[in-house]
C-alpha cells in the first residue's frame, strides 16, 4: 500500500532519556516508589534495632500478610474497574465460617474441597454485588455497604454466632502443615496457593482479554461500551471473581487461625483497602497491579509486625500505623500528580 505523506504528524520531541528512565524506575503504578519506602523503613529498623531483621521476622511477616494478601486480590480487581468494596470481609467470613459449620454438622472432613466450597459460596455472595452493580448500576461503595450488613446479618442470625474452637481434623492438618522454616517461623503450605493466585491474577490482568477489559472499564465505562465491551457482563464477572477470591481468603483465614469465629475479619476492610491503594491502585479506577498490592500489603505488615519488636508501647501503635498509611497514600498522590506533564512547546534557543 502506498502511503500518502511522510511528514511528521506531530512535532512533539521524544521524551528525554532521563525521564523515561525515571518513569521505568517508578513503575507503571509507582511500585518503585513503594519499594523505596519499604527499603527506607527496613533501613530505619536496621539502625534502631538491628537484631530485629531476622529470617524469623521475614517468616512472621509472610504469615501475617498472607490473609491480607488473599483478601486484597479480589478488592484489587474491583478497584481497578473503578469500584470500591467493603463487603469482601463479610463474604470471606461467611464463606469460611459456614463451610466449617457445614462440615461439623454433617460430620464430613476434607482438606482441599472445603476451599473450593468456600470459594463457591463466596462467588454466590459476590453475585449480590454483581446484581446491584451490573444490573441496577448502583454506586459500588453503596452497594457493598448494603451487602456487607446483609451478609453479616444473615451469617450471624441464621448460620451461627458461636465460636468453633477446632476444625475437622484433615482441614486442621492443613493449618499446621509446614513446608519449611524461615528462621524460627514455620511457613504454612497455604502460602503456595496464595502465591499461585497472585501469579494467576497478575496473568489474568495483564494477558487476558478479561483482565484488559477490567482496565478498560476502569478507564472509561462509556468508551468501553462503545468499543463493544459489555460493561455489565465485565462487572458481573468482576464481582463473581472477587467474591470467589474473598471466599477463598476467608477459608485461608479460618484454616490458618485453626478455629472459626463469625466475628472475625469484618472490620479489617479499611486496612485492606489501605494496602491495595498504597500499592498503586487509584480509587478513581483504571490503575493497579498485583505487584503493587503485594508491596502494599508488605509495607503494612512490616509496620504492624515491627512495632512490638521495636519496643514501642502499644498505646502508640494505631497512631504510627495511621501515619505510615498517610505517608504511603500521600506519596502515591504526589507521584501520580507529577506523572501528568504538558508537552513541551517552546523551541530551544
Amino acid at each position: 500500500m502506498t502511503t500518502t505523506t511522510t511528514r511528521p504528524a506531530t512535532t512533539r520531541p521524544a521524551p528525554s532519556p532521563s525521564r523515561t528512565w525515571a518513569r521505568r524506575l517508578r513503575g507503571p503504578h509507582n511500585e518503585g516508589v513503594l519499594l523505596g519506602v519499604i527499603v527506607l523503613l527496613l533501613a530505619v529498623i536496621l539502625v534502631v534495632e538491628p537484631g530485629t531483621l531476622t529470617w524469623t521476622f521475614a517468616g512472621d511477616i509472610l504469615r501475617s500478610g498472607i490473609v491480607t494478601l488473599a483478601l486484597s486480590l479480589g478488592l484489587l480487581l474491583i478497584i481497578i474497574s473503578g469500584g470500591m468494596d467493603v463487603s469482601f470481609t463479610a463474604i470471606a467470613i461467611f464463606s469460611g465460617y459456614s463451610t466449617v459449620k457445614l462440615m461439623n454438622e454433617l460430620g464430613i472432613d476434607g482438606a482441599v474441597w472445603p476451599f473450593l466450597l468456600a470459594s463457591v459460596i463466596g462467588c454466590a455472595l459476590g453475585s449480590l454485588n454483581a446484581v446491584l452493580v451490573a444490573r441496577y448500576r448502583m454506586e459500588t461503595l453503596v452497594a457493598s455497604l448494603g451487602t456487607q450488613v446483609i451478609i453479616r446479618g444473615v451469617l450471624l442470625a441464621f448460620v451461627g454466632s458461636t465460636y468453633l474452637a477446632s476444625l475437622p481434623s484433615q482441614l486442621d492438618a492443613v493449618g499446621s502443615a509446614t513446608i519449611f522454616h524461615l528462621g524460627g517461623s514455620a511457613v504454612n503450605v497455604l502460602v503456595l496457593p496464595v502465591i499461585a493466585l497472585c501469579v494467576a491474577l497478575a496473568f489474568v490482568l495483564k494477558r487476558t482479554s478479561f483482565g484488559r477489559s477490567v482496565y478498560a472499564v476502569g478507564g472509561d465505562k462509556e468508551s468501553a461500551r462503545r468499543v463493544g465491551l459489555r460493561v455489565s457482563l465485565v462487572q458481573t464477572r468482576i464481582y463473581l471473581f472477587a467474591g470467589l477470591l474473598a471466599g477463598f481468603a476467608g477459608m485461608v483465614h479460618v484454616v490458618l487461625s485453626r478455629h472459626a469465629s463469625p466475628f472475625e475479619i469484618v472490620g479489617m476492610e479499611l486496612n485492606v483497602i489501605a494496602a491495595v491503594v498504597i500499592g498503586g491502585a487509584l480509587d478513581t479506577g483504571g490503575r493497579g497491579s498485583v505487584q503493587g498490592t503485594v508491596l502494599g500489603v508488605l509495607l503494612i505488615s512490616l509496620v504492624q509486625n515491627s512495632l512490638v519488636r521495636l519496643g514501642i508501647s502499644s498505646y502508640w501503635h494505631m497512631l504510627i500505623v495511621g501515619v505510615v498509611i498517610l505517608v504511603g497514600v500521600a506519596i502515591q498522590a504526589r507521584s501520580s500528580a507529577r506523572g501528568q506533564h504538558r508537552a513541551r512547546i517552546l523551541e530551544e534557543g
Partner: protein, 320 residues
C-alpha cells in the same frame, strides 16, 4: 422461658409474670449463650420470664441503642453486662427513672444500678492469675499481659492487679511491656505472641484477658515448640481452649461461670423487686454467690466468690 441469641426480647410475659431482660455485650457467642442457659434454668424455677438481647457487635453505642429501645417496653428489671460502664450510665439512669430495676455485672463502680454483682474482686482476680503464673514459672522470668482492648476497663484492672501482685510478691517476675491489645481477635494475639517470642527470647509467661487471647497465645507457642518452657494463664473457657489445655500449650485458665453470673443478677433483681435489700452476706441462692461481700466504699457493689481455675484435669466439669 428464654433463649440465647437474643431472639425473643419482648416475648409477651404470661399475665402477671414478671419480665426481666438480660442485655449482654454481643448477641451470640458461647459465653453469653451459656449465660442464656443460666437464665433459662432460673426462669424455669421462678415466676419470671427472662429474655436476652444485645447489639450486633460489642460496641457500647449499640448497647446504648438497645437499652434505649427497651425502656419504653418497661420490663420489670434489666440485667446488664456493659461493654463500657461509663458510657451506659446515662441510659441506665433513664431506665431507673422509668421505674425499671437495673442490675449489672462486670461494671465495678457503676452508679446508675441498684447493684453490680461481680464474681469476685477484680484486682484480686488479677493477683490470683499472677499467683498461678508465678507458681508455674517458679517465681522467675518475664511475662506479657494481653488485654482485649486498651479501652476495656476490667481487663486493664486485672492486668494492673497482676502487675501489683508480681511487684509485691514475686521480685523475680517482670513484665516486658505495657499491656498489649489483642483487639479481641485471636489472630492478633497470635501475631503479637510470635513477635514477643522473637523479641524476648527468654520470655516465660503470658496472661490473656479476652477469652480468645490464650487461644492465640497457645497457638503461637505450639508452633514455636515452646510448650514446655512457657506458662500460659488467662481468662477463657474450655469451649475455646479445651484442646490447648490438653496439648499443654495453655496451662491454666481461670474465669467464672456465666450461667451462674446471669442467675446471680436475676436473683439480685428479684430481691430488689420484692422490696428487699442487698447487704453484706446476702445469699442469692446461686453457687459462689451465697454470701455476697459489699464494697465498703461503693455500697451498690457486691462481690461473690465465684472464680474457678480450670486445668486439663477438670475441664470436663465446665461445659461452656
Amino acid at each position: 422461658g428464654s433463649t440465647g441469641g437474643g431472639d425473643d426480647t419482648a416475648s409477651p410475659a404470661a399475665d402477671g409474670e414478671r419480665r426481666i431482660v438480660n442485655v449482654v455485650k454481643l448477641a451470640g457467642g458461647d459465653w453469653f449463650n451459656r449465660m442464656a442457659v443460666g437464665n433459662d434454668e432460673y426462669a424455669a424455677e421462678h415466676e419470671v420470664t427472662v429474655s436476652q438481647t444485645a447489639g450486633d457487635d460489642s460496641s457500647e453505642e449499640k448497647q446504648i441503642a438497645v437499652l434505649n429501645d427497651l425502656i419504653p417496653q418497661r420490663p420489670a428489671a434489666l440485667t446488664v453486662v456493659p461493654n463500657s460502664p461509663e458510657s451506659l450510665e446515662a441510659v441506665l439512669g433513664r431506665a431507673q427513672d422509668a421505674g425499671i430495676v437495673v442490675i449489672t455485672h462486670e461494671a465495678p463502680g457503676i452508679q446508675n444500678a441498684e447493684a453490680n454483682i461481680e464474681a469476685f474482686v477484680n484486682a484480686d482476680y488479677g493477683a490470683h492469675q499472677m499467683d498461678l503464673l508465678a507458681e508455674c514459672m517458679d517465681g522467675e522470668g518475664s511475662y506479657a499481659h494481653f488485654v482485649g482492648s486498651l479501652t476495656v476497663a476490667s481487663h486493664n484492672v486485672w492486668a494492673d492487679g497482676a502487675l501489683a501482685q508480681a511487684e509485691a510478691e514475686y521480685p523475680g517476675v517482670t513484665r516486658v511491656a505495657d499491656a498489649i491489645s489483642s483487639e479481641e481477635d485471636q489472630e492478633v494475639a497470635y501475631q503479637r505472641t510470635k513477635e514477643l517470642l522473637a523479641t524476648y527470647p527468654d520470655i516465660r509467661g503470658f496472661i490473656g484477658a479476652a477469652s480468645t487471647d490464650v487461644a492465640g497465645i497457645g497457638r503461637a507457642i505450639e508452633e514455636a515448640g515452646r510448650e514446655a518452657d512457657t506458662c500460659v494463664v488467662g481468662t477463657s473457657t474450655p469451649a475455646i481452649v479445651g484442646n490447648q489445655l490438653e496439648s499443654g500449650s495453655v496451662d491454666v485458665i481461670t474465669g467464672w461461670d456465666p450461667a451462674l453470673a446471669g442467675q446471680a443478677m436475676l436473683a439480685a433483681a428479684e430481691v430488689v423487686l420484692d422490696g428487699g435489700e442487698l447487704t453484706e452476706g446476702t445469699d442469692l441462692g446461686v453457687p459462689g454467690y451465697e454470701s455476697l461481700r459489699q464494697d465498703p466504699e461503693v455500697p451498690n457493689s457486691f462481690f461473690g466468690d465465684a472464680w474457678i481455675d480450670i486445668t486439663n484435669d477438670n475441664q470436663a466439669d465446665y461445659p461452656f
